[in-house]
Amino acid sequence: MTAAATAELVTADLPVLEMVRPMPGFPDHRRFTLVRLDDEGLLCSLTSLDEPGLRFLVVPPDRFFPDYAPEVDDDVVADLELDGDSEVLLLVVLTAGGSLAATTANLAAPVLVNAGTRRAGQIVLDEPGLPVAAPLLG
């Protein structure tokens, strides 16, 4: 990344997330940060620190998919160094359509962040019934 972009992010003092489970299609992009895009912290940008300009829109799914409660395997727990006290952020990646109604969320592979250790990953659940592109508004 360019020196200018690095400086900008460093001054912003954003925590660096380490993608220990990289996002499918982006295996070499390991360092991201989370930037709030609204006052509530509903819509966030998962912004790459390895490639300037690369970012993903993410939201916590609870408001849109209240029944969504993915279970992860022990190996994910180990990779993210989760324990009983870990504060975990659950986020889903949005594919922005032309409008809110055309915007979809990826429920098949949520992003999990260990807020304590900053270890993160896009977890492939491979469970039947969890769509890659679920309409955000149902």
Binding site: E40, N106, A108, V113
Partner: protein
């Protein structure tokens, strides 16, 4: 590629600790059982392809698209949201500036 013929109930062993068993063959559907260490990630190939495509499509939306979405979510979220709800940005990005 190694090609083997197997009947239902028969298995193939890969390495030390991976066993693949043909459970059932019905028409053009084959049910396969995989016995492997939990650390080994097993996924349907087409799902990984789908996820790669989805991520590429999701990557780096245009600024105006993000602005529109932020506005639209703000107008829907205002009714259902509680003021005290902690957003995901708070624990990880307490000092995150908001662009624009």
């Amino acid at each position: 590629m190694l090609v083997l013929s197997r009947r239902a109930g028969e298995s193939v062993v890969l390495g030390e600790d991976i066993t693949i068993t043909i459970l059932e063959v019905r028409g053009d559907v084959v049910r396969v059982g995989i016995d492997a260490p939990r650390s080994l990630k097993v996924h349907r190939a087409e799902l990984l392809v789908q996820l790669e495509q989805s991520n590429r499509q999701a990557a780096s939306p245009a600024d105006e698209v993000v602005a529109d979405l932020t506005r639209a979510l703000g107008s829907t979220g205002g009714t259902g949201g509680t003021g005290g709800t902690a957003g995901p940005g708070e624990p990880t990005a307490p000092s995150a500036p908001r662009p624009e």
